[in-house]
């Protein structure tokens, strides 16, 4: 009878130990969940930071590209205006005479 009680006592203790072990496992799972959430947040945070840096880099590049556009168009306009003025200089006398004729003689 005493041995049977001992056995029951041992089984009871084993069940308690098992419950503790399961509880410990669940605690580890909870810790793991928290850690996972923290890691996931960190991954997103790093991605946001990298994106922010990439955008800043792109924006700093845009000023350079704007300056290039401005310079290119200015050069093209300088050349075009110089050609226009040079060409018009050669026809200035004829233009003046044409206007004089219109003014004094009604010729067009």
């Amino acid at each position: 009878m005493c041995a049977a009680n001992d056995d029951l006592e041992m089984i009871h203790e084993a069940e308690e130990a098992a419950a503790r072990k399961i509880l410990e496992a669940q605690q580890r799972v909870n810790e793991m969940k928290e850690q996972t959430e923290a890691e996931a947040k960190q991954i997103l945070k790093e991605a946001e930071e990298q994106t922010r840096r990439a955008t800043l880099l792109l924006n700093s590049d845009i000023d350079k590209r704007k300056a290039e556009i401005e310079q290119r168009i200015r050069n093209e306009t300088d050349a075009s205006v110089a050609t226009l003025e040079e060409s018009a200089r050669g026809r200035r006398t004829a233009a003046i005479q044409s206007v004089v004729n219109m003014l004094l003689r009604g010729e067009s």
Partner: protein, 209 residues
Amino acid sequence: MSGAKGILDMIEAKTAEKAEKIMKEAEELRELRLKEAREKAADLADSTAKKAEKEQKAELARYEASMKLKAKYRTLDAKESLIKDVLDSATKAAEKEIEGKKRKEILIGLAVEGAAALGIQSLELVFPEKQKADIDPAEVAKAVSKVTGEKVSVALAKETVRSSGGLIIRAKDLPKQVDNTIEARAERLSGRMRELAARVLFREKAASE
């Protein structure tokens, strides 16, 4: 004892198995969650990069359009400057020419043009004071008649006009006149003169062409 031992072993084995299952499921959930986070991060980076690139492209296109517009204005300014030079120089040249050897021919021409527009037979000429003595009204009348085919009479008005050159031709008894002084013609013909100057200077087509 052997019966109890079996039960104890079974409890231990089942517990170990359950704990292992709990941990395995947790590991799987962890991997899934991290995978999801990595995918979200990649999507964020991708969509942000695409958005930034699109915005940059649009901004550069707007900037280029604005620069081209400025360039167009600069070219127009240069053209305007060249046209103004021609018009100013032409006015001075006209004032000089109307005082030169072709003065009579020019003034008769202006009178004939005005008379033809008026279509009136009794006419008067109003000159700037310095030109008054140079023109014979009979000669003007003859030239007008030649162009209009009608006999006209032309007289010199007593009053004069303040002008650097040219004349006014008016009906003797009616309030009708054509102001062909240089100043009035320059104002009246300013649009056509500008067009003509541009056409010659820049080989532009006439508006009517």
